[in-house]
Symmetry: C2
Subunit: 337 residues, 2 copies
């Protein structure tokens, strides 16, 4: 017998991991029956520290996430790991990754691991990731580590869901094919040179240092504003906080530097609080979410009202230059009303 | 006395460059009085070959665009250049770039140059670029070169407006800080190693060749699908066209390799036509545009109906966990109806 909605929320709040896993699957499947559960859980959010970890394949990002999880467990904090792969439409690779992880974190009830991959479009993945983070927050995890691979907009979207974003680099990824990306550096609160015991680590560190020194610091609020509109006022101190990314060296497999990384994350968290920026980030996240949800609902509503063959006919007519796109929009809006 | 709308369209179709420049400014300013002109011009589009050229700063991308423009002029084709800078909120740098260009292309009535920079958000820039391309197409330019700098989603968006996308790399941008990005390679139909006379060019070429060999070819329709939903059927041959990026070496400043690049662009254009993919790309572009425009209109309509202080109060209440985001959406939708 399936749990009723309020029972489902209750079970999750009481630490029932099976109920938790089931809700996360429902989120991924875009189930429409979970709104009430999500609404109940929402009032229990806000306690978790959300840390994004991103980087190219081969940087040892997953090992670093494991090492961080262990270190936080050593501080008696509970940890949830969300591994998001926007580049893969299948979760096969991600599931394999889970199994490898399980070997080192297995049996610890204070750790919860979840993989997510692209099912439909990237917007859907960002939306699902946001809900999954929220549910894990409500479920009482102290630290939520959101690991993303891939490139481009998806990383930025997901980074903006976190309080602190860690970008991982490593030496030896090929001299000319270093996957250091301008857009990635922009979202980095902390830069990590992982595999710092490998030859070339010094060169990687110097290159990152040079990029930090060259870079114009971008405030988190500026960055968030670039990806949406801001409708509310930001206090001057918050909009003035310019954070120069910290540079940390680690060897995730031996644990070297992990304490330094945790220290850097703590420094960033304190800075956010001192400048009142944590609340600003949260407001911006809520606003982005409301606009994103509204958009999604309104577009789906319109598309539901228009038969698909009518929509296709409109595309045909625009392509044949019988009508222009603006005219097609007017026809659609007339249909919908 | 300002021209009436149909006169404005007429003037542009007759080759009046002053009327053309004025309309492009109106597009950038999101003027609402130009819909009729755009509708008139739309029926005259479809003749231009649209080529996107993208790459990191320092790759000599602008010189390459100049060299391409001269080569197409040598074939008696008219050329429009749109230089888009999504990283800059100011057009100062772009305007300077124009002046430098002007020195080599000046006085040739068969060349038209326009710079665009971010005014508001990136979505607005993509939207304006799409309209500017369309107007230049209607104005009768044979070739439209769309040059973009910057990183991330904006490049992808703008690349998807072109028939053929050229990604420019160069040696000597720093060993560890090569700005080769995974997302960029994905959109490349043609890869150019510019500054091929510099030391290190061979290494850059080998690295790109290795990346091409490693890469899973992504079809243009797959890529476009990833950034939106596809509502229409694609013929099997079109969805099966997998294009392995061509690799070309150039020295834009001396003209070396420019003929090879034009040859590669022609090859790609022929492949698109053989597979029937040109029409598929156009359909996808039209569909994306309709969904994008719909979204924009519907969200603005809702936001216009809700007083800004009401919206802020809702954000406050969500932040205070009094209501959840879904509940806030329902309140907004109730207000709007």
């Amino acid at each position: 017998m399936p749990l009723t909605m309020s029972e489902q929320a209750q079970a999750i709040l009481e630490g029932n991991r099976r109920a938790l896993a089931r809700l996360l699957t429902q989120i991924e499947n875009e189930s429409e029956t979970i709104d009430e559960t999500l609404a109940t859980l929402y009032s229990h959010t806000g306690g978790a520290q959300i840390i994004g970890i991103t980087g190219a394949p081969g940087t040892g990002k997953s090992s670093l996430v494991n090492a961080l999880a262990k270190a936080y467990r050593g501080q008696s904090k509970t940890v949830a790991i969300i591994a998001v792969d926007p580049t893969s439409p299948f979760s096969g690779g991600a599931i394999l990754g889970d199994r490898i992880r399980m070997q080192s974190l297995t049996g610890d009830p204070g750790v919860f691991i979840r993989s997510m991959a692209t099912r439909g479009n990237l917007g859907g993945l960002s939306r699902a990731t946001r809900e999954v983070i929220r549910v894990l927050d409500a479920a009482g995890f102290d630290v939520i580590l959101v690991e993303t691979v891939g490139a481009g907009q998806s990383e930025v979207d997901i980074a903006l869901l976190a309080h602190t974003t860690v970008v991982v680099e490593a030496p030896g990824l090929g001299d000319d094919v270093q996957a250091i990306k301008a857009g990635i550096l922009e979202i980095a609160d902390i830069l990590v040179v992982n595999k710092a015991d490998l030859p070339g680590a010094q060169k990687t560190r110097q290159a990152l240092r040079a990029m930090i020194d060259l870079g114009h610091p971008v405030s988190r609020t500026q960055l968030m504003n670039r990806y949406g509109r801001r409708l509310f006022a930001v206090t001057e101190s918050a909009s003035n906080m310019l954070w120069i990314p910290l540079l940390v060296e680690t060897v995730a497999t031996t644990g070297m530097g992990i304490d330094d990384l945790i220290d850097a994350i703590d420094q960033h968290r304190e800075a956010l609080e001192i400048y009142g920026l944590k609340a600003v980030i949260e407001r911006q996240q809520i606003q982005n979410e409301l606009l994103d949800k509204l958009t999604n609902i309104l577009v789906n509503r319109i598309l539901d009202e228009i038969p698909i063959d009518k929509f296709n006919q409109l595309i045909d007519r625009v392509q044949a230059r019988e009508i222009d796109p603006h005219g097609a929009i007017n026809i659609i809006l007339d249909m919908g009303s």
